[in-house]
């Protein structure tokens, strides 16, 4: 009899059994989205010896606003080859939310495995303008605030609250970029001290260049498998024992930006605090956001934060969240972690948050 962990969310054990990601690059100028996805999908299946015929559902995450054309998620399916016709769905969100949809379907028990993939380029358009369009269309979007300026308001609020300093932001960036040196998929990795980083000029006060995410083109994919199927394809599956996502108001002015109550609530529902955590992969595009998330999830000092380098190492739109789940699963597969917390965010200043707890047995 296979052993499964105790579940906080759902009643059927579903494991992450495979993960692949595209090389995270500043500008993928040679390949279109389908050409980017094909090798990722081939790897995510091939590395565990299965094909598209072995999954009962496909769910993807992307947004046409990045591509600049309609229905890009439909043409992206050509990277999988959906014949005979497949059960398939799409979310206009990060792939982490596509994984959530696939997990829900797997709970129903009609299928045993699913493919989740996502893709996003930051390079075709002006990302600052594109991200402004996700804001409230009446009061905020017409002002075209760029995401770094909004994040800087949050960082300043954090400083004003006395909870963190600019040196704390630099320490997060220093640690993350140093960890990224051992991540072959990292786009930005270096070995620089906090003091060196504090000598940089401000991009938008109080954020210096090191506190900002890179602009990244990328893609990622995960295979989920339920019950015995998970063990068939993976020696030590990373079982999803808890998963939840919550959102805050779209009105930035109505939020206390120094805290993340949606992350706290999602973390509670996902059972983060039920047991010790070895690794946390936090989707914090801006350095100070890692501090807010760690507090929201009540992570203690013993938790290894973003050993992959996190979103500061590479921040492919619509994929950086799913990559956090993939990196967490890798830590479980290797035995490096027994229990990991993966987090994905969306919207300005951590507006929407997903928390996924993964465990090996």
């Amino acid at each position: 009899m296979s052993r499964f962990p105790e579940l906080t969310s759902g009643s059927r054990p579903v494991g992450v059994v495979s993960f692949a990601q595209y090389d995270n690059v500043r500008r993928e100028g040679a390949h279109n989205e389908v050409e980017m996805l094909m090798p990722v999908v081939a790897e995510v299946f091939g590395s565990i010896g299965i094909t598209k015929d072995d999954v009962g559902f496909i769910c993807s995450g992307s947004t046409d606003y990045l591509v600049g054309g309609p229905f890009s998620f439909v043409t992206a399916l050509d990277a999988v080859g959906v014949w005979p016709p497949r059960a398939e769905s799409h979310v206009e969100m990060d792939g982490a939310w596509a994984l959530y949809e696939a997990w829900v379907l797997l709970q129903e028990g009609e299928i045993d495995a699913a493919l989740v993939y996502c893709f996003g380029r930051s390079s075709p358009g002006d990302l600052s303008e594109i991200l402004a369009l996700q804001l409230d269309p009446y009061y905020l979007a017409p002002l075209w605030p760029d995401p770094t300026s909004l994040a800087a308001l949050q960082a300043q609020a954090l400083i004003d609250s006395g909870k963190a300093t600019e040196a704390d932001f630099a320490a997060v960036a220093s640690r993350s970029r140093r960890a990224a040196l051992s991540n072959p998929k990292a786009q930005v990795a270096y070995d620089r001290t906090t003091e060196e980083l504090l000598a940089e000029d401000y991009e938008v006060t109080p954020l210096r260049r090191h506190a900002l995410p890179p602009l990244t083109d990328g893609a990622a994919a995960v295979v989920l498998a339920a019950g015995e199927k998970a063990y068939e394809w993976c020696e030590r599956p990373a079982f999803i024992t808890g998963i939840d996502h919550r959102i805050e108001t779209h009105s930035i002015g109505a939020r206390d930006l120094t805290v993340s109550p949606s992350t706290t609530l999602a973390g509670e529902k996902a059972g983060v605090g039920h047991k010790g955590v070895d690794v946390a992969e936090l989707h914090a595009p801006y350095a100070h956001q890692e501090l807010i998330l760690a507090e929201a999830l009540a992570l203690d000092e013993g938790v290894s934060r973003n050993p992959s380098g996190g979103a500061l190492a590479a921040n492919p739109m619509m994929s950086a969240g799913l990559i956090r789940i993939g990196e967490s699963a890798k830590a479980i597969w290797s035995g490096q972690a027994g229990r990991a917390v993966a987090h994905a965010t969306s919207g300005p200043c951590l507006q929407q948050n997903l928390v996924c707890v993964l465990e090996g047995v």
Binding site: H31, V34, E35, G69, D78, G81
Partner: protein, 164 residues
Amino acid sequence: MSEREPVTMMAAPIHLDYVFTAGVAQSKNLHGLEEGKFIGQRCPKCKKVYTLSRGSCPTDGVPTDEIVELPNTGTVTTYCVVNVPFAGQSIEIPYICAQILLDGANLSFMGLIQEMPTDEVRMGMRVEAVWVEPDELGPTMASVKYFRPNGEPDADYETYKEYL
């Protein structure tokens, strides 16, 4: 309360510019058009040939690496005679819009049919591409001016029924 009229509408103009990445496969197609040629790509698994491919076989999900030069001739699989004027129309109505299956290809695409009375268009009609002048050729479908009947007898329904 104010005596002013309630706001019922607001304008928020949005304009975004993008740099389009055609990709490896589509670049080959576009460069073919630049030379007045149709380029197809064959799937290594199902052997189907796609024109204007995005680089993958939509059935098998594998790269269509083999390049196939396709002829200038094809068959009308289905069509529509446009009689309705609309904003931005650049062609005089009525005109014929058809799905054209190039000989040797397994995917049709939309093309304009000219040099014939609109009421004589039919499924199975054989056509050929008319290209713009050589100095006007570019990496765009606009390099194909239109298609016209090439005088061959109509294709047998069996030859194109899979492509409707």
